[in-house]
Symmetry: C2
């Protein structure tokens, strides 16, 4: 069975357990049997092959082999701070950012934002991250860090970070800055855009206003666009 | 009214007409009245402001002013040849590729492909292009060129084109080639990947096998990723 399953807790003494959605996926959707071989990952960079040893009503017990050597488990240096779009666009964005290797997604509260990141939505976003990791072979979860306003984020910008704020009329992406700093934080505003006050505050905090092309991009398009550019560049020293 | 409307036929003697979905959008959704001011575009690079002069059951007549000067109407040099995903993923991909300025989308028939581009689906894809152009401020439609197999496309590769085929284990994107050629054709395979025969044929035709990062990207993610990279690079000589 080529499917991958997320372990909420690390294996202990060669045993691990799938719970909730993961157990359901394996037993109800894929109709696994005792003895089947699966792949499991812990979301912190490790992956194992494992054999189903017991199937209960709400959990599955697994015998886990040695961790498999992985090509790379370093999380991306890219943090995206995004005024979340609503509904399917939010769900889709999380799937794509996960596939594209973004290290951390910070939903931000902005003046014109339409969707708030509540405890419920954080859980939903994290479930989306796990689903995408299972599918795309990623072994480190994308972190979802909720509870930030734009002002807080600007106050707490780590030094050595290249900060950029996506907005029409900005300058082009600075690939040297993207390549040479210890981290990149890119901010993407809501459908109605950042307000002038928000833009001014970002620029006072040292962020660069960056344009992503000639068209007005939707929130999720801007976020995915930055992630894609960073992902292709990061795996390619000739590009960044 | 800030909304934009697509003109299927160019204005004549200062008059134009909206039909079908466009007329419906203006009268039923936005409840426009005679005298309202709107923006119209022809999908070939021109844009006008126009005033509603008559509203009929299935059409709207407009008095059109002089064309507005546009920043840039050059279509992107990027053609994406993609084994279409199904349903919402297909719809979403077309929206994003349009926002990101892709010049032409060619749905390709491949051995493991899941969705065929029929006459009906071509019309649906083109409607998606128009919707996205209205929203993102793009004035030249992304062309949808159906009826191609991978073999035909490979036979017809124009000279001076940088051709690439996205596949795990390939080399990094060559930004010099992307910047210096007259056009770029990027091929993205179906969920199950290109077959070995397809990859070999592409390489015989001179295409470069390119990897887009460490994870297994969904079809639409790979396509959008290439479009985003090209879009950000094209508007930024320091990046390409």
């Amino acid at each position: 069975m080529s499917e991958r399953f997320f372990l909420a807790e690390a294996p202990k003494d060669g045993l691990a357990s799938l719970q909730g959605d993961e157990a359901q996926h394996l037993t109800r959707v894929l109709r696994a049997h005792v003895g089947d071989l699966v792949t499991v990952f812990d979301g912190r960079g490790l992956q194992w092959s494992a054999r189903v040893v017991q199937i209960d009503r709400k959990s599955v017990s697994l015998a886990v082999n040695e961790p498999q050597p992985m090509a790379s488990t370093t999380p991306s240096r890219l943090t995206l701070a995004v005024a979340l779009p609503k509904g399917d666009r939010q769900k889709w964005m999380v799937e794509k950012l996960t596939e594209l290797g973004v290290g951390r997604l910070i939903p931000i509260a902005t003046t014109r934002g339409v969707a708030e990141a509540t405890a419920g939505s954080k859980a939903r976003l994290e479930r989306g991250v796990i689903e995408a990791c299972k599918q795309c072979g990623r072994n480190t979860l994308m972190e979802i860090a909720t509870g930030h306003t734009l002002a807080q984020l600007l106050d707490e910008m780590p030094s050595g970070t290249y900060g950029l704020i996506a907005h029409p009329g900005g300058s082009p992406l600075d690939r040297t800055a993207m390549a040479e700093t210890t981290g990149v934080i890119a901010m993407v505003g809501p459908e109605g855009g950042f307000t002038d006050d928000e833009l001014a505050a970002a620029e006072r905090a040292g962020l660069t206003r960056v344009s992503l092309g000639p068209h007005i991009l939707r929130v999720e398009t801007a976020a995915i666009s930055l992630a894609a550019h960073f992902s292709i560049s990061a795996c390619n020293p000739r590009v960044v």
